[in-house]
């Protein structure tokens, strides 16, 4: 039976300072690739455990193997070349070039999913950056037309998605953190998203935020720019940030015809201030004024990468408890919480 107001995560989980240092040490040749892989395994297991302890319903691997939202995927695509593999800081972007036509050869994200699957019994969501955003971080020496590059990236991601589903993935999320900076290109982004999702049997989410690089927004604006084009996207969920921005855009999203599931951002991932469960419950309740409860998913605005691990854990707990309060109310039960994550269904 599906969970009412399921809680989940978005993007990267909190990256501890020690992990940042070790990742950077790898680029400075102070840590071997094998040791870094071990470090990543440990970090991913800890991230999964943190989510489970917080009571998150749908978990992820925290994307802790990824240096940032681009390189882990894009730099491994056949056809893409990094002009240098040296970084002074692990989080920096590579300078990437599409040097030969992209192939539809998966880069192996399925292995990451299998590792996650081995370490949790919870439902898993697997995310990757979408073709439009990837295209903004790579120089093109092949296609000569940015739209063609975006479509080629989409085809490569479609192959990746098929491979992931073959490995057992049932929930996939496309992240488009750069889209809000190019509102005039929504049509191209949506066309590419439909290429990615074509023929891939999974529950698809689309995450659009205003950027979270170094815990800063890259752009400002309103989600109305997505409409009506986004209605053509073959996705099941739209996952948006509302905690930091405020929820003024919420009624418009409903009015503009979005009748599928909505991932409601209830945690401000750019602030170390921990929301209270009451705050979270209030945010969910306001959303319920315009969205049906069975279409609402509860999540942070974006990845918790830039907040400290204790803050990330506290925020997740608050989110789970806030969601449980509203869920209990909807089900006619006492709002009193038995424990964090009380998974009413």
């Amino acid at each position: 039976m599906p969970i009412l107001l399921p809680t989940t995560v978005v993007g990267s989980y909190s990256v501890p300072e020690w992990l940042e240092r070790l990742k950077t040490d790898f680029y400075r040749k102070r840590l071997s690739a094998a040791h870094l892989a071990d470090v990543h395994d440990v970090a991913v297991k800890a991230a999964i455990k943190d989510q489970e302890l917080a009571g998150i319903d749908i978990v992820s691997d925290g994307e802790l193997r990824r240096d940032n939202d681009v390189d882990y995927l894009l730099a491994r695509m056949p056809g893409v070349r990094a002009t240098t593999t040296v970084k002074s800081y692990y989080f920096d972007y590579y300078d990437l070039v599409v040097a030969t036509p992209l192939t539809e050869q998966p880069v192996g994200l399925a292995e990451d999913f299998r590792f996650t699957r081995e370490h949790t019994d919870k439902p898993i969501k697997f995310s990757f950056t979408g073709p439009f955003s990837l295209s903004r971080r790579v120089r093109d020496e092949v296609y000569g037309d940015r739209a063609e590059l975006v479509r080629a990236l989409a085809r490569a991601l479609n192959a990746e998605a098929r491979d992931l589903v073959g490995a057992g993935v049932t929930m996939l999320q496309i992240d488009e953190p750069f889209l809000a900076g190019y509102p005039e290109q929504v049509a191209l982004a949506v066309e590419a998203i439909n290429i990615v999702t074509a023929g891939v049997e999974a529950t698809w989410g689309l995450h659009v935020c205003y950027g979270n690089r170094y815990a800063r927004p890259s752009w400002e604006g309103h989600y109305s720019f997505l409409f009506p084009t986004v209605l053509e996207a073959r996705v099941d969920q739209l996952i948006l940030e509302f905690a930091r921005k405020g929820d003024e855009d919420l009624p418009a999203i409903a009015e503009l015809g979005w009748d599928r599931a909505l991932g409601l951002g209830v945690l401000d991932v750019k602030s170390e201030d921990v929301e209270s469960r009451d705050q979270v419950a209030m945010r969910i309740s306001r959303a319920l004024e315009v969205i049906d409860a069975d279409k609402l998913i509860v999540n942070p605005d974006c990845g918790l990468r830039h907040v400290s691990p204790p803050v990330a854990r506290a925020k997740l707990r608050a989110m789970v408890e806030g969601a449980a309060m509203v869920r209990n109310r909807l089900l006619g039960r006492s709002e009193e919480l038995v424990s964090a994550g009380d998974p009413a269904s």
């Binding site: 690089r213 800063r216 400002e220």
Partner: protein, 485 residues
């Protein structure tokens, strides 16, 4: 024994500095003593500030009280010719390097540099600036090199405003320009910079024809209400567009949090060099915190105490009282010591003039156990310390705190522009004295530019330095910080 001669640029040229004489004197004094010479370093500096906190010769303990204890003998080459260096060294070494010399009146215990009372003096200067200026008969700006702040330079203002117009035009075309356009100045002085900026902005906006002036909000921020009062009068002609806010420059978001990601320009001029600062020294691959202890030379302390009808032993408490409540209240509260406010100000000025700091180097158990600010660990220092061998650097805790807490205010297309005394290369710390010194009644200190650049890079911010372009021969450097990627 290691001998470190730092001001190498002064060893040549028309009037090369004489190193041999003071160095020989130090070596002879050391030879005559009993210290283990294999555990002694001699450091020769050139203290550029005529008024400073250093004696001509200092002896510092490294890892005091531990089996690894070593000594550093520091000589100021600029003043070494004026005194008997050998005798000074001998006297300090007879206490086996302990700086607890009897001819000093200590004002505090050992503390990291940023916690020392020189910063309380500095704070008092800005809080009671009007009294200091009345006593000296000149405004603080006349104490600056050239007698004026670079902040008022019209060409520099035009450059800043032009950059803003370019960004705003671009955002406007993409329908992404907010209705309200915020500019923040931290540390406004007498308001002359704000006036120059706003005057120029209004003229340029008229020529530009986009009516940005109508949407402009200029926020003048300072921790001195007195300074803000003066500044407000200076910019009276721009009344509707200017607000003034009392804030601590090290924590701007406590007051300006409502402007998170909304400010297009944060302007800071000659503030960072005036904020509390620790120093860290790297010796032989080990990092030490430079702890300091303020004192007055006993003879001068006795004279100052006499002017306040106080015993020398009571002088530290009287000074701390002054630092706590300021000259006006201390004069009112202690009429036996001070006949009036002017007497209290004179007492303050004499204490400041005589103020010195002893130093010692205390091992740091690990860089991560040291906090640069409440949110930044000493790990941020590692790239600087690891890559440059034996080195002494300013941590500029106050400047770092201000910088880090200002970044969240910046709009995605905003920038932080700062004119100050920046070190732009770590090597500059190895080859020259970088503070602190005294500047009128305040502290002046070089700001560790590479550290800010490194911290900025870890927060997705590009930090660039360029010599101040609009006045030749100035030491002022322009720092520009803006979002990368």
């Amino acid at each position: 024994m290691l001998v470190d001669i730092r001001p190498v640029a002064r060893l040549r040229g028309k009037t090369p500095v004489d190193v041999a004489t003071p160095l020989t004197a130090v070596l002879e004094a050391l030879r005559d003593g009993t210290a283990d010479l294999s555990r002694v370093r001699v450091v020769c500096d050139w203290i550029q500030y005529k008024e400073n906190f250093r004696e001509v010769v200092d002896v510092r303990q490294t890892a005091p009280g531990s089996p690894d204890q070593e000594l550093e003998v520091a000589v100021d080459l600029r003043r070494a010719g004026d005194c008997d260096v050998a005798d000074l060294t001998r006297r300090l070494m007879t206490q086996n390097g302990s700086p607890d010399a009897p001819d000093r009146v200590w004002l505090e215990g050992w503390l990291p540099g940023s916690k020392g009372c020189i910063w309380a003096f500095n704070r008092l200067y800005w809080q009671a600036l009007h009294l200091w200026e009345r006593a000296t008969g000149r405004g603080y700006e006349s104490a600056l090199p050239g007698g004026a702040s670079d902040a008022r330079n019209e060409a520099a203002v035009r450059e800043l405003v032009s950059d803003l117009f370019r960004i705003w035009d671009d955002l406007s075309e993409r329908r992404a320009l907010p209705e309200e356009l915020y500019v923040v100045e931290l540390g406004v002085g007498n308001g002359n910079q704000a006036k120059a900026w706003l005057d120029e902005f209004r003229v340029m906006d008229q020529a530009h024809g986009r009516d940005y002036y109508r949407r402009l909000h200029y926020l003048m921020c300072d921790y001195s209400p007195h300074v803000l009062d003066i500044a407000r009068k200076t910019v009276a002609g721009h009344g509707e567009h200017v607000s003034s806010l009392v804030l601590d420059a090290t924590t701007p978001t406590t007051v300006l949090g409502f402007l998170r990601y909304k400010v297009f320009l944060v302007y800071v001029s000659n503030v960072y060099d005036n904020l509390p600062c620790d120093e860290v020294v790297n010796i032989g691959g080990r990092a030490y915190c430079v702890e300091t202890r303020a004192f007055l030379p006993e003879a001068e302390a006795a004279e100052i105490a006499a002017t306040a009808s106080t015993a020398t032993t009571d002088l530290p408490a009287l000074i701390h009282k002054l630092l706590q409540i300021g000259p006006e209240l201390v004069a009112e509260a202690m009429p036996t010591q001070f006949t009036d406010v002017d007497a209290a100000v004179e007492f303050w000025r004499r204490c400041w003039q005589s103020l010195r700091r002893a130093e010692r180097f205390v091992p740091m158990p690990g860089l991560d156990s040291y906090q640069i600010t409440s949110s930044l660990s000493g790990e941020m220092l590692r790239p600087l310390l690891d890559a440059h061998g034996d080195l002494r650097i300013n941590v500029n805790n106050g400047a770092v705190a201000s910088f880090v807490d200002t970044l969240p205010l910046l709009h995605p297309y905003g920038r932080l522009v700062c004119h100050d005394l920046f070190i732009t290369d770590v090597e500059q710390s190895r080859t020259g004295f970088r503070g602190p010194g005294k500047y009128d009644g305040s502290v002046v200190n070089w700001v560790n530019g590479p550290l800010l650049a490194h911290i900025g890079s870890r927060k997705g911010i590009d930090v660039r330095y360029a010599p101040f372009a609009h006045r030749k021969g100035t030491s002022i450097v322009t720092m520009t910080a803006q979002v990368r990627d």
